[in-house]
Symmetry: C2
Subunit: 296 residues, 2 copies
């Protein structure tokens, strides 16, 4: 694979937090993390999924709906000012109240002038012991999209989306150079035996999204014990070749920054031209849940 | 994730070879490898891509078309006898002459009674310096399919297919429990610097197919220097969680065997129910090459 003669660097910031019960405390910590990343030169800064609160989906409780907010709303108002003051792009994951009875797990992208560049509503919603998201979140209807910002064309996907190659592919095909995955993933605190295997599989499949699509992948996960769940942190950035550029700890809040050379996308896709060779004439059945042996 | 109370074991054999110029020598080595794997209890045994010859696609030479053969034909005749004698399922990759002017890179599955259980014609065809496959092989028209055998429902994909999540997904959705990837991948002998990174990405994306789909993945690659290419071996088996069960060396011919407990598929898919949550209502654009920003 040939080397590029020029670079097109964008510096990425990741704010890996431990969430407290008090929303104002989390908002303040997030803003501090953003300021720290910006001070280190970060131009696109991503927060973790549902950063304003503890991960409330461990139980099904109607009271939690009161934490939802509209977009634009109080949080985007605060963060828009931060974005424009610092001149950075922000990815702000929120519990969105869209209408009475319609709530989404959403990420807003604020451009460097503080305007809303776009929003993504989580398309794939999990429901597992400790992750009762289907109770709270209507599956998104935004589809998979690229959002143009001052510092690059980005795609946002959220947590459970990370297990679906279709989501990464569709976002990359719409032009995204970097995929961002705000995340809240951990292991059941009483079941540490599979924790390392889970974290390994989680990193593997997201590195594979980079490889399959020739894009950068940025994952921001929370840390800390919350009730029955132990969130494993390990926020990371993968280059288009699946190499990890930076990786966070499994147990400490921290701010990570790293440079992504967007020209690597051209170089990687020329070197391994997968997008040239997709057999789109044979992919129709991807819109089926299962290809039943006795039906056709 | 709960443990199973019973197992459903199938033992897999991988024959990683170094190819000689003489076809008869390679056929003999392949048969010896199969016999060795069967003696170790293997029930489904996979050979590497185009095992009968050196990797001739390093140049575009019409003379190589004379190496192609029909299916059924001389090689399947020999291997059918081996399959029925040993009572094993064989995956036999061949250079198929389908008709005058139509050649495929094909893998035949022979059932344990020696009959042809099915065939797969490589759908994604590479064309890169040293890998001029588009000159030789018409892209397959079999689609992605599951082939039922005495020892399990299997899917076969070939080499370049391994970079396409769509191929793994469609094969798994058609019911396959194990994906087999006969392969001929190596690095340019004059460019060792990227070799390790390439091999790492290659393993990562195939482990990801296991994780995304909850299936076993079996990859069989050749070893040895042939002209400008150095084939990196490292044949391996991944379980549905992306854990490597067995891995070959990078430079020696060898026969690998490992047990796959097919009940792990049920357990893994219950634990991480990705197939439950695919957003098939939003995947239509996967049949497009690119989602152009100014068209829709």
């Amino acid at each position: 694979m040939s080397s590029n003669t020029h670079k097109e660097i964008v510096r990425i910031g990741l704010v890996q937090m431990r969430c407290e019960k008090d929303t104002a405390t989390n908002m303040k910590a997030a803003e501090q993390g953003i300021r720290k990343a910006a001070a280190q030169g970060a131009q696109i800064i991503c927060l973790q999924e549902l950063f304003r609160t503890p991960y409330f989906c461990q139980t099904e409780d109607h009271a939690h709906f009161n934490q939802a907010e509209e977009i634009p709303g109080p949080s985007t108002q605060v963060m828009s000012k931060v974005a424009s003051e610092l001149g950075v792009v922000l990815i702000i994951p929120l519990f969105e109240k869209r209408s009475t009875g319609i709530y989404h797990n959403t990420a807003v992208v604020l451009d460097a002038d503080g305007s809303i560049a776009g929003r993504y509503r989580k398309m794939h919603i999990p429901d597992d012991p400790g992750f009762y998201e289907k109770f709270y979140f209507t599956p998104g209807d935004t589809g998979f999209q690229t959002i143009s910002t001052r510092f690059g064309k980005i795609g946002v996907l959220i947590c459970w989306d990370q297990w679906f190659p279709e989501a990464a592919r569709l976002t990359a095909l719409s032009g995204a150079q970097i995929l961002f995955y705000p995340t809240a993933i951990g292991y059941q605190a009483f079941d540490e035996s599979v924790a390392e295997k889970q974290a390994q599989a989680w990193q593997t499949i997201q590195k594979a999204h980079s490889i399959a699509n020739g894009v950068f992948t940025v994952v921001v996960n929370r840390v800390g014990q919350e009730d029955q769940l132990n969130f494993w942190g390990k926020s990371f950035v993968s280059d288009p070749f699946g190499e990890v550029l930076v990786e966070g700890s499994s147990d400490k809040p921290e701010v990570l920054t790293t440079d992504c050379d967007l020209n690597l996308i051209e170089e990687t896709r020329q070197g391994w031209p997968f997008l040239r060779d997709r057999r789109v004439d044979s992919y129709d059945n991807l819109t089926r849940l299962f290809i039943d042996p006795n039906e056709s």
